[in-house]
């Protein structure tokens, strides 16, 4: 147990945690605005990953050889935009009609689960019909799998990029929420949707923007996952989504900073359990959820617990 080993685990934890964080932000944003747990969010992440894969395939003529940075980022860009669109679509088609009719929250929750199954099955059909199988290998520029050696530390480039990206995104998000007009609108909407509508703000646009934002971040999270574990399938969003949801709850659902902190904590636990107690390696998923229960026992509203009567995000 030397310092290098511990440092290595911390780096790995940061890397895994930031992926959870990116997805957890989406849960928290939608929950903050609509008080809705969007269970389809994990599958939105899967959609983002598959759309990146498909765009990459089209751009490289399905050869996936020598992917340049330009091509890769174009594909990711296309995917982010399309995934944001899918996010808005799920809201417009599935949630909005129910919300407009004043359906109870539980009905919308069930709808979200339905959307989740729909997206999984849809991409399963697409993968089997057009991509040649449920499981696909994910390709990306060689640069990301490049490994830097510092002393006895081995650090893949990706494990540095993802946490930095996550922190930047968090800062950007906080800027949007607190310094821009749409951010003020989002926070106002989270307070009282009816008053915001009475003030003449276009609540549909704002909610759509929130869904787009969450979905775009999920796409980024999904791509980082696919680069770390280069095998993608239509069911990948299920467990990852569930863990990201746990991260959002641990951090205090409704708080963007909390979601990021929760994501990091979950990442650390998942890396530390197999790292320090290798015999328990197979149980790491169980530990992630034990942590959830443990935190909620002491802080029922999560670490950055939000009192929805007084503050937002």
């Amino acid at each position: 147990m030397n310092t290098a080993f511990i440092l290595q685990q911390i780096i790995n934890g940061f890397s895994l945690g930031s992926m959870y964080a990116l997805i957890a932000i989406g849960y928290t944003l939608v929950y903050g605005v609509l008080r809705l747990i969007n269970f389809a969010h994990g599958d939105i992440m899967m959609v983002g990953t598959f759309l990146t894969f498909i765009s990459l395939g089209i751009l490289t003529g399905w050869k996936f050889e020598h992917i340049s940075m330009a091509i890769f980022f174009t594909a990711v860009g296309i995917s982010i935009i399309l995934t944001a669109g899918v996010g808005i679509l799920t809201h417009v088609i599935a949630y909005k009609p129910l919300l407009d009719k004043g359906a109870p929250k539980i009905s919308i929750l069930i709808t979200a689960i339905g959307i989740s199954f729909f997206l999984e099955s849809l991409f399963n059909v697409i993968a089997n019909q057009y991509l040649g199988g449920t499981y696909q290998a994910f390709y990306f520029p060689k640069f990301f799998s490049h490994i830097i050696h510092i002393g006895s530390l081995t650090i893949p480039v990706l494990t540095i990029i993802t946490p930095i990206l996550t922190i930047l995104i968090l800062l950007g998000l906080l800027f949007i929420l607190y310094k821009t007009k749409i951010g003020i609108a989002i926070r106002a909407l989270a307070f009282d949707i009816y008053t915001v509508q009475l003030m003449g703000a276009n609540s549909n646009f704002i909610i759509g923007f929130v869904f787009a934002l969450g979905s775009a971040l999920a796409a980024i999270g999904g791509v980082s996952f696919a680069m770390a574990y280069p095998s993608i399938d239509p069911y990948m969003g299920m467990l990852i989504g569930l863990k990201a949801f746990a991260a959002a709850v641990v951090g205090g659902i409704g708080s963007v900073t909390g979601a990021v902190i929760g994501g990091f904590i979950l990442g650390f636990v998942e890396v530390a359990i197999p790292g320090f107690l290798p015999e328990l390696g197979g149980w790491k998923d169980a530990f992630a959820f034990i942590l959830l229960i443990f935190v909620l026992l002491f802080k029922p509203t999560g670490i950055m617990g939000i009192n929805f009567e007084r503050q937002r995000f």
Binding site: N124, T134, Y135, A137, S231, D233, Y235, G275, P278, D285
Partner: protein, 404 residues
């Protein structure tokens, strides 16, 4: 308000009357047509329906698709019984999901009125439908579920492949013969197939004098195996046995080789998908071995030589073991139907009863993977050999044929 309510209720009552009225008429016409049908049926040829329940989507969809290719091909050759009756396949997807499997099975039995079911492919799924096969007395032949419990304690579920104790023994014998006398086992805790096969290997390996250094487990759907790899690296075994499924094996191999572990890796028929392994593991797939049911380059019967020829002509590639075993189970069912489709077994239930018995008493039937003789007590073929295959430069290579 009251008026509206009255109106609405009136409409509902009227509607209900109308619907029931229609139903009565329909029922009458139905009865008439049914009578006519039964009259014409006795003179015309019959259609016997056989359900095919395979994972056509989901994690192991490629296994199911390959199996279906084999079933479709053999069905096109053997779709007519000698007495002129026809066999119709009803294909259902089990999605490698227990709930979908049970639902699909129930639908085949009670809605489609099938005489027999081929499938499910995986052991967990076959175990899930075992009770329903018994309750509905439907003969069920799984082509590749290797867990021994699948056919024990039932008269209706049989298989056309070897079982895990044999498959595990084959792997253990191979390892020991090559002086790989200490090993690590990595199995999937969530799959009956994997748990059973791991135990079978451990038993045979210890008995043969091998030393088990560690038994590790993973979960279906895992993507990060660094914890398991780190432990393997620490104990540095000569041999690694991985009775898991191909999606997990692909990433496991990649991470194992990236960590610098060079020990030979062997799996069961669950990783017998070289295409997927290569896709997921890249170069790390090279050198991995697995036990399988059939090698297309070693045709054991004239029928299999013909099957391989037809398969190449139709699909332009070699048949996989999945296609061959799929065809085997179909042939067993076809053989039973041939025996039982007599005027004495006019009703579906007596046909099913007879077929269940006939399947269990299959004797020296010429099939694709060899001559099949099923033990009536265990529902498992006797003397079924296994082949060991190895991936070399992205291609499968035949290593050894091992007979029980």
């Amino acid at each position: 308000m009251k008026k509206k309510f009255l109106k609405a209720s009136l409409i509902i009552v009227a509607g209900a009357l109308f619907i029931t009225g229609c139903n009565k008429k329909e029922q009458k016409t139905k009865q008439v047509t049914q009578k006519q049908e039964t009259q014409t049926k006795s003179t015309k040829t019959k259609i016997i329906k056989i359900g095919v329940l395979q994972p056509l989507t989901g994690p192991i969809a490629s296994f199911g698709q390959k199996t279906l290719d084999g079933i479709n091909l053999i069905h096109s050759k053997y779709s007519k019984l000698p007495n002129g009756d026809k066999i119709k396949l009803i294909i259902t997807d089990d999605q490698f999901d227990k709930i979908q499997t049970v639902n699909g099975y129930k639908r085949l039995v009670s809605d489609d009125n099938v005489a027999a079911v081929e499938g499910p492919l995986a052991s967990s799924m076959s175990l899930a439908i075992k009770r329903f096969a018994d309750n509905s007395k439907t003969p069920t032949v799984t082509q590749i579920a290797t867990n021994p419990r699948v056919t024990i304690g039932t008269k209706y579920v049989s298989r056309t492949c070897f079982t895990d104790p044999f498959q595990g023994k084959v792997a253990a014998t191979y390892a020991l013969e090559h002086h790989l006398n200490n090993a690590v086992v990595v199995f999937d805790m969530k799959q009956d197939y994997s748990v059973g096969l791991a135990k079978a290997f451990e038993k045979a390996y210890k008995k043969g004098g091998g030393k088990l250094l560690k038994v590790l487990f993973i979960n279906t759907g895992d993507k990060d195996f660094n914890a398991q790899v780190a432990q393997i690296k620490r104990v540095n075994p000569k041999f690694i046995y991985t009775p898991i499924y191909a999606p997990e094996e692909g990433l496991f191999l990649r991470q194992l080789r990236a960590a610098g572990v060079k020990a030979p890796v062997m799996g069961g028929d669950g990783i017998a998908d070289p295409g997927l392994l290569k896709k997921l593991a890249g170069n790390a797939a090279n050198g991995v071995m697995y036990t399988d049911h059939f090698d297309a380059l070693k045709a054991p019967t004239p029928l299999s030589a013909q099957f391989i020829k037809d398969f190449k002509a139709k699909y332009n590639r070699q048949p996989s073991a999945f296609a061959a075993t799929g065809a085997d189970a179909y042939l067993v069912i076809y053989n039973a139907a041939k025996e039982c489709d007599t005027p004495a077994n006019k009703s579906l239930s007596s046909l099913k009863q007879c077929m269940a018995k006939a399947i269990r008493h299959t004797k020296h039937l010429e099939a694709v993977t060899g001559y099949l003789t099923i033990n009536p007590k265990t529902g498992t073929p006797i003397n079924k050999p296994a082949v060991i295959e190895k991936i070399v430069d992205g291609k499968t290579k035949f290593v050894e044929l091992i007979k029980p």
